[in-house]
């Protein structure tokens, strides 16, 4: 056993109605790569927030290098050599890289010296960065570099990384892992939070698994299979989604030479996108965040109209139609952002059900709402998709992310559309709910509908998709059959290798 760096003893934290952490104890050794595993809501975030001083534990103690450690705020944690890279980046778009780094440091040197040190450290660890660029102009991978470099400049003894690879291409993940191994060899301990089991097995030498706020095991992840780890996390046996082989049907949705200039100064413009979606086909569209996914969804859902012929549904031009007209014709969409885009946060589930289903389900007649039918419809979704809520009168914002996602996807699937477009269908959703949503999407395809899944989760796409394409800076690669694609090839597609020859047998 290595020398312990940080010891947690019986940490407990309760929020009204939830015991987020219940009596958690474990040790992190000097230079150790320690994984923290668990589903969403298992208490990982609360635990690291306590280590980083953002949350005070109700009970329990921490010991850092043999001395008592109870940080009242993050600056105290930073002074003690504890640094953190956040899952949702804690960056400021309108400030430049050097300013962003300075904001995360205790005693930053003058900006000119800091810029020099940023260059030095970032090259030393293989993460090149230009300190004068605005963070808003950087890619997701570069933004993460800013966060990491910010931590490294303070020479941390413990680096906490919260889901660091969810926004990276496979090649960027490689670079990150190399950096982390280098750090570990230099004696920096790393607490690595993820639910990507393969990564953890490749990287970490010890793993602590949380479930429902409790520690269920500490083990060596290299000695367990990914399946064993997953079952420890979930506490039940997982079944991968079923997908019987099937022939390709008629063309349902066609997109032709679609270009679109983004309205958002930090957005991505779409450039000349063309693809065809067939009945019964699941088309997976990969890409690192911010490469045009949001814009593509807006164009397909009808929120941003285009030339009529550029989007065609069953041969009819629909590019100029808005979302309601498209729903009527059989194309529905579920955007990534649940609160505020897919659902109105301050309206009840019943009202949210009405908002997208009014037409196809005939919930409103000559301007009057049929509340009884709407309520029945909302209850139907809740029952069918196992949405955990006291009832349909609950406000959308009161649901947890996973439950609301089940409701939103369920609502669209229940409309029995011909084509459904989803963006990040299982983002922030726990494993059980995610596999449920994926199965529901596959069932739709089996019934003959066309499904477009835009996602950053490669495992998800490989599990679901029949055909595969990637977005890079607003351009889309040719669609290829998903079967037989290697992770390397996918990485190249995501990285922008547009001229790759399409594999034979696309028409299969």
């Amino acid at each position: 056993m290595r020398q312990p760096l940080l010891r947690l003893d019986g940490l407990t934290k309760a929020y009204p109605g939830v015991l987020a952490n219940d009596d958690i104890s474990f040790e992190i050794g000097i230079g150790q790569m320690h994984a923290l595993l668990g589903e969403n809501g298992a208490g990982k975030s609360t635990l690291v927030k306590m280590i980083y001083g953002l949350v005070k534990p109700d009970r329990g103690t921490m010991t850092l290098r043999g001395a008592d450690y109870a940080p009242a705020q993050p600056s105290e944690a930073r002074r003690n050599g504890v640094a953190m890279v956040f899952q949702h980046f804690s960056l400021f778009d309108a400030l430049d890289v050097a300013e962003n780094v300075a904001l995360g440091m205790e005693n930053p040197p003058p900006l000119r010296d800091l810029a020099r040190r940023i260059r030095e450290v970032s090259t030393a660890y293989g993460l090149p960065l230009d300190p004068n660029r605005l963070v808003g102009d950087l890619s997701a991978g570069e933004r993460q570099r800013v966060e990491i470099v910010r931590c490294l400049l303070q020479e941390p003894k413990l680096l906490i990384m919260d889901e660091p690879t969810s926004v990276l291409t496979p090649q960027e993940v490689e670079v990150l892992f190399r950096t982390l191994r280098q750090l570990s060899a230099e004696g920096t301990a790393i607490l690595y939070i993820s639910h990507k089991l393969d990564e953890i097995r490749a990287l970490c030498d010890e793993a602590t698994i949380l479930r429902g706020g409790r520690k269920v095991a500490t083990c060596d992840p290299r000695e367990k299979s990914a399946r064993e780890l997953a079952e420890l996390m979930v506490g039940q046996v997982l079944t991968p989604p079923e997908r019987p082989a099937k022939p390709k049907g008629a063309a349902l949705l066609q997109v032709r030479n679609l270009s679109l200039t983004s309205n958002n100064p930090f957005g991505t413009s779409l450039k000349d996108i063309s693809f065809t979606l067939h009945a019964g086909e699941v088309l997976g569209i990969a890409g690192v965040a911010g490469n045009g996914q949001d814009e593509l969804l807006l164009v397909l859902s009808g929120e941003v109209p285009t030339g009529a012929d550029q989007v065609q549904l069953k041969g009819a031009p629909i590019g100029h139609l808005g979302p309601n007209a498209r729903r009527k014709r059989g194309l529905v969409a579920a955007p990534e952002e649940r609160l505020g885009h897919a659902a109105a946060p301050d309206m009840s589930l019943t009202e949210n059900a009405l908002l997208s289903a009014a037409q196809r389900k005939r919930l409103a007649r000559s301007g009057f709402i049929d509340w009884k039918a709407t309520d029945r419809f909302a209850r139907e979704i809740i029952a069918k998709f196992d949405v955990r809520t006291p009832g349909p009168d609950v406000l959308a914002r009161a649901l947890s992310g996973g439950n609301l996602q089940k409701f939103v996807i369920g609502r669209e699937i229940e409309l029995a559309p011909d084509v459904i477009v989803v963006n990040q269908p299982t983002w922030g959703v726990d494993a059980a709910a995610a596999s449920f949503i994926r199965q529901a999407l596959l069932d739709m395809a089996n019934r003959g509908a066309g499904v477009v899944v835009i996602s950053q989760d490669l495992d998800e796409l490989l599990e679901l998709a029949d055909s595969f394409a990637a977005l890079n800076e607003g351009r889309m690669t040719p669609v290829r059959p998903a079967k037989g694609l290697s992770v390397d090839e996918i990485g190249l597609m995501m990285g922008g290798a547009h001229d790759m020859t399409p594999a034979q047998g696309v028409s299969a």
Partner: protein, 310 residues
């Protein structure tokens, strides 16, 4: 038309005086908005400063104490706003409007016995030979000290926002309060300080009206200066030096309007008095079209309520 009767040196001098109150209020509001808070109560805080500053100056006989009192009065009213929006999480727009109405009403009551009185005179700053320079001396170097202190304040705010760590934290809080909170900065504390600074500046701007520019107390005497200051912040796209330029532009419009009237030009003055707002609308359109670089300078968390999640 007898435009020849307008003396450019006098016009320039009058313009600097006319610009000072709106510039004071605007530079305060600029800092408030850079911290991510939209305080529409500028007009209310200005009139509080105008009224309280007048009362203090008349009773003590000291214009300096009057200005101090005005800053305190503006700050007191802004603290009410801070309490409402930062502690009780009320809507910023509604609270700001309420602040304006409250300020106007309260000062009408407090100032009743002071109508028609002349306040103690604020001496002009003696700049010696500088004010003897032909034209420039009359236009630039014959003012009271507040005019010059205001320009110094603009410089100080510019330096603070761009070159000091505290200023960087303030911008960070206004740009993305969730990220600032995650890094361990005290979002509310920063915002309350910014709001107080904005209140003090607005109060000083009001006192400049009642003690120097007019100088007299009448009910509702700010007549929209606070709104012009708010428009000015947007017009300046949250940059201090541009706020100075904009204040002279808007101040110039006000002065020109008086001079043109005096010169007997037959343009309805209403066209000129609405022009600052028209220009601001134009700038807003430019910003939201996303073409102008200015859209990036708008604080990202402006007017968004901050709930600290655990």
């Amino acid at each position: 038309m007898i435009l020849g009767s307008i003396n450019p040196a006098v016009l320039m001098a009058a313009l600097m005086v006319a610009a000072t109150p709106i510039l004071l209020a605007a530079i305060g509001e600029l800092v408030v908005e850079k911290a991510g808070v939209l305080n529409l109560g500028v007009e209310g805080m200005m009139i509080m400063g105008a009224c309280l500053g007048f009362i203090v100056a008349v009773n003590t006989g000291s214009p300096v104490l009057g200005f101090v009192g005005a800053a305190c009065a503006g700050m007191a009213l802004s603290l009410l706003f801070a309490l409402l929006t930062q502690a009780l999480m009320t809507n910023q727009v509604a609270s700001g409007l309420a602040l304006t109405l409250f300020g106007l009403g309260l000062t009408a009551l407090l100032g009743q016995r002071y109508v028609g009185i002349t306040p103690p005179r604020t001496p002009k700053l003696d700049l010696g030979p500088l004010s003897e320079i032909p034209f420039l001396g009359r236009a630039l170097f014959s003012h009271d000290i507040v005019v010059y202190l205001t320009i110094a304040l603009v410089a100080a705010v510019w330096w603070f926002l761009n070159y000091s760590r505290a200023g960087m934290i303030l911008r960070a809080v206004g740009e993305n309060h969730d990220a600032a909170h995650a890094l361990g900065y005290h979002v509310r504390r920063v915002r309350v300080f910014a709001i107080m600074f904005g209140g003090a500046c607005a109060g000083l701007g009001g006192a400049y009206l009642s003690l120097i520019r007019v100088p007299q107390w009448t009910e509702g005497m700010t007549v929209g200066a606070g709104w012009i200051a708010l428009a000015l912040v947007v017009f300046a796209s949250w940059r201090p030096w541009r706020a100075l330029a904009g204040a002279y532009l808007f101040g110039g419009v006000v002065v020109l309007q008086l001079n043109l009237q005096a010169a007997g030009v037959k343009i309805p003055v209403e066209y000129l008095s609405m022009s600052p707002y028209l220009i601001t609308i134009f700038v807003l359109v430019l910003i939201s079209s996303g073409k102008a670089r200015g859209s990036l300078n708008a604080p990202g968390s402006l007017n968004r309520p901050f709930h600290a999640s655990d």
